[in-house]
């Protein structure tokens, strides 16, 4: 039990440190304007995606061995759904925007 708790504590602390690093990098780049805007946006997106994965792994304890299959299925299904809905919305709205502008 003691070992189990120690392992759990380490998991949260690793997650915390990784999250701090992945937050500090984009904030730092935005404050200092160290990169051109386009690259900064890419960096923000990359750090955000990594940080979401860190949260899922270290705080929500998602993994491929102990997490029930149906939970993983729900997450994968939702991810696909979000891609279709958000991607579809962007496609329609930006296409419309371009047509209205011309």
């Amino acid at each position: 039990m003691e070992n189990h708790t120690e392992h759990g504590l380490r998991t949260y602390l690793i997650g915390f440190v990784l999250a701090v690093v992945l937050t500090a990098i984009p904030f730092y780049v935005v404050i200092t304007h160290a990169l051109p805007p386009q690259r900064t946006l890419l960096l923000i997106a990359g750090a955000a995606i990594l940080q979401v994965l860190v949260h899922l792994r270290f705080f929500l304890h998602l993994n491929f061995t102990t997490t029930p299959k149906e939970n993983l299925l729900a997450i994968v299904f939702t991810t696909v759904l979000i891609f279709i809905m958000v991607g579809g919305s962007f496609w329609i709205m930006f296409d419309l925007h371009q047509r209205m502008a011309i």
């Binding site: 759990g8 602390l13 984009p26 705080f59 939702t78 759904l81 809905m85 919305s89």
Partner: protein
């Protein structure tokens, strides 16, 4: 007797994660709501109608402070979860209260930001951009407020009922909810605040 109870309890503890499927489905529904609010915000971000944009309104110090409060609160909730496993009631209450204070600080900063924006005429009725901003960030703030209420309720249950199997199971779900809100906040500072201040 006590051996039978602990065996029963550990068995119940093992099924917690499996039984959380319903709660995961709820969280995924919430994720869809947030994803669509993000999509709305991105399509509206330039529709300022001649009013103030993100560059004039957002304050990076405030946003980074909010980020820090929520991230630390997520970690302190993790400590509460760990203490609930070893049955340390006092420690669970302590970490839940620390989480509550950090979360309340977050909501306070957010409300102060909203009040400041409305005061200078940049309320949700000013432009499409601001409507989308207040809806997205406000929905997240509302979730955090509900989470704070839930933390207080769980503090009460831990005090009155102790760390029984149902109470631990509820704490587990509250943990999923609280950590999920931190993920939604990662989206908010990465899509709203940081690009707005570029």
């Amino acid at each position: 007797m006590s051996a039978a109870v602990t065996a029963h309890e550990s068995e119940a503890a093992e099924t917690h994660e499996q039984r959380a499927l319903g709660f995961w489905l709820y969280l995924m529904g919430d994720a869809v709501i947030f994803a669509l609010l993000f999509a709305t915000y991105v399509t509206m971000v330039n529709n300022t109608d001649g009013g103030p944009g993100g560059k004039q309104l957002f304050d990076l110090r405030n946003a980074s402070l909010e980020t820090a409060l929520l991230l630390v609160s997520s970690t302190t909730f993790g400590f509460a979860s760990l203490c609930s496993r070893t049955g340390n009631r006092g420690a669970v209450l302590f970490w839940l209260l620390v989480t509550f204070v950090l979360g309340a600080g977050f909501v306070f900063l957010e409300l102060r930001e909203f009040a400041g924006m409305i005061k200078i005429g940049a309320g949700p009725d000013r432009s499409g951009f601001l409507s989308a901003f207040f809806t997205l960030v406000g929905t997240h703030g509302l979730h955090v407020s509900v989470g704070l209420t839930w933390i207080l309720i769980m503090c009460g249950q831990v005090m009155m009922k102790g760390l029984s199997v149902p109470v631990t199971s509820r704490l587990f779900r509250l943990g999923l909810f609280w950590h999920f809100l931190d993920i939604a906040w990662v989206g908010i500072f990465s899509i709203v605040y940081l690009p707005g201040l570029l």
